[in-house]
């Protein structure tokens, strides 16, 4: 009996990973970017590059999304919204930081209204550098993230709950 349970659980988790890899739904949030990366994300979804062939679909609601694409350094005003959107997403969730600003703050580092990169606020799973990254780079980053999901450890561990991040204002 015990062995059979294990078998089904194993099968179920493999099926979940399989479906997650084959059709990740993405959500896009701009937390203070110059718009360049956002346009490149959109360009990635359009016919020339067609990220949708990997089953990727742009979603409107955080509650439907698996992957959060973040662009731009985090501004003081957008910080709380970013945290809220992250907490509204279901586990397991993945964050991709796109562009130099999302990585470290980029040229806007040390501006009075910029807290820094996305990782200052929420944990990030994949980093795509560039100002802005080319659509090919974004595709490469997303594919690398998806192929890393095949190793089960990444999906389950490495997730930090919203309470652990803390809400102190820097």
């Amino acid at each position: 009996m015990h062995q059979r349970d294990n078998y089904f659980q194993n099968l179920l988790s493999r099926m979940k990973t399989w479906s997650r890899i084959n059709s990740p739904w993405i959500l896009h949030f701009n937390s203070g970017s110059c718009n360049g990366c956002d346009i490149e994300i959109l360009a990635t979804l359009t016919p020339r590059y067609d990220l949708e062939r990997f089953g990727v679909k742009l979603q409107g609601s955080p509650r439907h999304a698996d992957v959060l694409l973040c662009t731009g350094g985090v501004t003081r005003q957008a910080r709380d919204r970013l945290l809220r959107i992250y907490s509204q997403m279901h586990e397991p969730k993945f964050v991709v930081a796109i562009g130099a600003c999302a990585l470290t703050g980029g040229v806007f580092r040390d501006c009075y209204n910029i807290l820094g990169g996305i990782e200052e606020v929420i944990p990030v799973d994949a980093y795509i550098p560039g100002c802005p990254p080319r659509p090919e780079a974004i595709i490469d980053g997303v594919v690398k993230l998806l192929s890393s999901l095949q190793a089960p450890a990444v999906g389950e561990s490495g997730q930090v709950s919203i309470d652990e991040i803390g809400t102190e204002v820097k």
Partner: protein, 398 residues
């Protein structure tokens, strides 16, 4: 249950993360049933503090900083800044550099208008058109990448000229792409003026009369669609626009359809100018020497961005860093017109009317000080304002 005869109003918060636009902005829309009764916008989610940051950077560093105000119209920001600084320094830029600046500015206008056209078709639920325009837009992106090496933020400008030259192979590529796009634009113009489904979303929606457009201070294609004669390329030609005159495109209907028609017709002007520049590109240097320290003084630089008038105020105190730079971007001028236009429309028309001004919030989020409800004017000296800033952030960090 509300009382009989008394209508209940419902407020819908939209944003800052929302499926319609790719940028963060918060709207509070009050509705009575399906009809919008009031609209309030909260700006500043993308405010980064660029104007302050450039004060601690050199003139050259500021160029790259200001280019990143906006990722769509990055060239025009850099161009406005360069024109202003060159004017302050009293430097004459070679004619070839000016012509290349205009060429890139027009290419950027094409990519920006096609981008907007696709996004607003997407707002209307016409995703096929969105995909088609973005496919065609890649042609322009290829050109921009071809001579600058980057698809966005191409850094064509340097203080005193341009960085990249146009050679014969590139000129051929540009001609090919332009003739392809010209044909496509005829088709798109056909779609927006003849497609019944699309016209139902645009014709007679968001009508702004000429007097309204003037009172609300709109700029760019939004104003020109309401028959307001406002186009910096025509009124005050800068760079090489005096050699390549632009025909102003006006429409007197003032509705969404007019805004589509004006922007698409403007594309033909851009194609014509690009071809003309390629024919008559003057020979000569690309750059001229510019001093590291800019003479003390202040100047104003106005250019026509794809979205309307872009205004730069530049003040130098004679050192190697700017003393003050102020950018007024077109979206902030047009934004208030949207809040007025939304009232009385269906909730479903909100994204379309908003997209109709071609909003760019990363440009938009500049600092604006409003003294609402207080008639007394308040003047702060620079020292007092500085101290206020220091105290404010000290209080916040405590």
């Amino acid at each position: 249950m509300s009382e009989v005869g008394k209508r209940e109003s419902f407020t819908i918060p939209i944003g800052p993360q929302h499926p319609a636009l790719k940028e963060p902005e918060h709207f509070l829309i009050s509705v009575d049933g399906e009809i919008v009764t009031d609209a309030v916008v909260r700006l500043g989610y993308a405010h980064r503090g660029i104007e302050k940051a450039v004060e601690s950077r050199t003139w050259v560093q500021s160029l790259y900083m200001l280019e990143r105000i906006c990722g769509i119209c990055s060239h025009i920001h850099a161009m406005a800044y360069c024109l202003g600084v060159e004017q302050l320094a009293g430097v004459e830029v070679p004619p070839r550099a000016q012509a290349i600046r205009v060429l890139v500015a027009e290419l950027e206008r094409i990519h920006s208008h096609l981008l907007w056209f696709g996004v607003s078709a997407h707002e209307a639920g016409f995703d096929t058109l969105f995909m088609y325009t973005w496919r065609d837009r890649e042609k322009v992106m290829d050109l921009l990448e071809g001579f600058s090496g980057n698809r966005v933020n191409y850094s064509v400008n340097v203080l005193g000229g341009v960085k990249f030259d146009i050679d014969d192979a590139q000129a051929i590529a540009i001609r090919e792409a332009v003739s392809f796009l010209e044909e496509r634009t005829h088709h798109y113009l056909d779609v927006v003026t003849k497609d019944t489904m699309f016209l139902q979303r645009t014709r007679g929606i968001g009508v702004m009369t000429r007097s309204q457009a003037e009172v609300l201070g709109t700029v760019g294609p939004t104003a020109r669609a309401s028959n307001v004669y406002r186009e910096i390329r025509v009124e005050a030609p800068y760079a090489a626009y005096d050699k390549y005159p632009v025909k102003i495109i006006l429409d007197n209907r003032g509705d969404l359809e007019a805004r589509f028609v004006v922007r698409l017709t403007e594309l033909f002007e851009s194609y014509r100018i690009i071809l003309e520049i390629l024919e008559t590109l003057p020979d000569g240097d690309l750059t001229t020497r510019i001093p590291r320290r800019i003479k003390a003084g202040e100047t104003v630089s106005r250019v026509e961005a794809p979205r309307g008038e872009l205004f730069y105020f530049i003040k130098s105190n004679g050192s190697d860093t700017p003393e003050r730079i102020r950018a007024r971007t077109p979206t902030i001028c047009n934004m208030m017109s949207v809040m007025k236009l939304l009232v009385g429309h269906q909730l479903a028309d909100v994204p379309m009317i908003l997209a109709g001004i071609d909003p760019c919030f990363s440009c938009n989020d500049r600092m604006v000080a409003l003294n609402r409800g207080r008639n007394k004017e308040q003047l702060l000296t620079w020292e007092a304002l500085r101290q206020y800033g220091i105290d404010y952030y000290k209080r916040r960090s405590d």
